[in-house]
């Protein structure tokens, strides 16, 4: 059942022209940024060659690329998550799922996995672009892998947040705006200090960004995702009135 709903979700995300526009635009921005960073790197490369322990190509090109990808996906994910539940409610098709013999967790997990499949495909194509570095020089594959993992975890976190907000409202626009607002709020927490700072997913991305995979950060992401998915399941099963 989860697979059925996930497949349907992916199918309907990919039949919407807006998805293709978003993907194309994202690839364009990403390629532009990639070329700009590559250009910068080539200009300073001669000077850096004289320094001892100078930063390599991967850390100068792929790392900033990954952090930009995070910000772009943070703004883009709400546009996908608003379709998952809020738009179905507005189109009256939600009632099909509510009267079907499926549990709330199957609906929510199906939708979340469908969303993750779409986001993974975006991250995958961007990962391919990072691997282009290997054509010209020796790339640091470990760093690229940790960056992609970080981007994936961060995007999945914002996806889970968006899914929950989407389950609270019947208006897709409200869902998208509220999700963007909360995401920006969490991003801004990065500038504060102490305990509050630790609540920001973007802070936990930073160590993955420089190639450090720590249990703390990975478990933060997993807890964040699981928390919001569980909240969504609770919300939907409450709506179903399941005792």
């Amino acid at each position: 059942m989860i697979r059925l709903i996930a497949k349907k979700e992916l199918h309907s995300l990919f039949t919407a022209p807006s998805t293709w526009w978003a993907l194309a635009l994202l690839q364009f921005i990403f390629a532009w940024f990639f070329l700009a960073r590559l250009d910068d790197y080539l200009q300073v490369q001669a000077q850096m060659a004289q320094m001892g322990n100078a930063p390599g190509a991967t850390i100068s090109i792929a790392t900033p690329l990954a952090s930009m990808l995070c910000i772009v996906l943070m703004m883009l994910t709400p546009l996908f998550t608003m379709r998952l539940i809020a738009e179905e409610r507005r189109n009256q098709s939600w009632i099909l799922l509510m009267t079907a013999p499926v549990s709330a967790s199957q609906i929510v997990l199906g939708k979340f996995i469908g969303l993750l499949a779409l986001l993974s495909s975006i991250i995958f194509t961007c990962g391919l672009m990072m691997l282009l570095i290997a054509l010209g020089t020796q790339a640091d594959f470990g760093l690229i892998a940790s960056n992609l993992m970080g981007v994936w975890l961060l995007t999945a976190s914002y996806g889970a947040l968006g899914l929950y907000v989407s389950s609270l409202t019947t208006s897709p626009i409200v869902a998208a705006f509220v999700t963007i607002a909360i995401s920006f709020g969490l991003w801004m927490l990065e500038m504060s200090s102490g305990m509050i700072r630790a609540l920001s997913p973007n802070v936990h991305f930073q160590s993955l960004n420089v190639g450090l995979i720590s249990t703390t950060d990975v478990s933060f992401f997993i807890l964040f995702i699981a928390g919001f998915v569980l909240l969504t399941i609770r919300r939907i099963s409450h709506e179903q009135g399941v005792a």
């Binding site: 709903i5 309907s12 009632i95 099909l96 009267t99 013999p101 549990s103 179903q240 009135g241």
Partner: protein, 272 residues
């Protein structure tokens, strides 16, 4: 579930064996849907109060009432789309609040607005609806053909739902409700937006469905009730004012004046 069915089969067999009466007579009609004291509040406003009904296999029940009488709310509660504030619903012996998955598997529901995905093709959508209602993969194609044939959708399987006219969308909605051949079919104003020929076809279909399953439908058309329903239930301001056979409704006068009489006298007794 299997045990329950076995027990029931045993009891039925026992009754049949020990009965002097002809077999067909003592075969009790199986209750497929029963609702007790359904009440629904929207905020503080009571939309449906204390509605009880039972539906047997092979029975067609018509739900009548003015606009805003609580017909759609009642049907949504029966279909499990809206949890009732009070009351119990059981479908094929499964309580909807404790065994929602098993109960909903025996239900087909067409809401007021058909729950369609406009960007899907008719075949894909019906396949999805069938799979969602636990039709196994090997039976799916046969069920799809039957549902399309019953709703005369044979020639538009490849079309996008969003491009279909309202009447066709309504038919896709009905096909979605019957594709898994459920024991209980709930239709909220099934003939709205259809042309006279289609209305006749859908009525024939409902009568056909009523032979094997139980059907409950809401409508504003009194002749529809007269033609296809075995029983009628009239709601007025969320309360049941009539629940009996359609023959009973016709006994004193014609069905229209009975309906008007029943729905007009309710407000005074409601102001108790």
């Amino acid at each position: 579930m299997a045990i329950r069915i076995l027990i029931r089969a045993d009891i039925l067999g026992y009754i049949r064996r020990n009965s002097k009466q002809p077999t067909s007579y003592c075969m009790p009609a199986i209750t497929t849907l029963s609702a007790q004291q359904l009440t629904h509040f929207r905020g503080k406003h009571c939309v449906v109060s204390d509605v009880s009904l039972t539906l047997h296999q092979g029975e067609v029940l018509g739900l009548l009432g003015h606009n805003g009488a609580g017909k759609s709310t009642t049907l949504q509660m029966l279909a499990g789309a809206l949890p009732p504030s009070q009351g119990r619903i059981s479908v094929c012996d499964f309580d909807l609040s404790t065994h929602p998955v098993q109960g909903k598997a025996c239900l087909g529901f067409l809401p007021e607005q058909p729950p369609l995905y406009r960007d899907m093709r008719v075949d894909d959508y019906l396949r999805f609806a069938g799979r969602l209602h636990r039709v196994s993969a090997d039976k799916l194609d046969a069920y799809l053909e039957t549902a399309k044939q019953r709703c005369s959708l044979m020639d538009c399987g490849k079309k996008l739902i969003g491009t279909l006219s309202k009447g066709y969308q309504q038919r896709v909605g009905i096909a979605q409700a019957i594709i898994h051949q459920p024991a209980v079919i709930i239709l909220d104003e099934p003939t709205v937006g259809l042309d006279p020929t289609q209305i006749r076809d859908i009525r024939d279909l409902i009568r056909e469905l009523g032979n094997s399953s139980s059907v409950i439908l809401s409508t504003h058309l009194l002749n529809e009730v007269e033609n296809i329903c075995d029983r009628a239930l009239i709601l007025q301001q969320g309360k049941v004012v009539f629940n009996d056979t359609t023959d009973e409704l016709r006994r004193h006068s014609d069905i229209e004046s009975s309906f008007i009489r029943l729905t007009a006298m309710q407000p005074e007794s409601a102001q108790r």
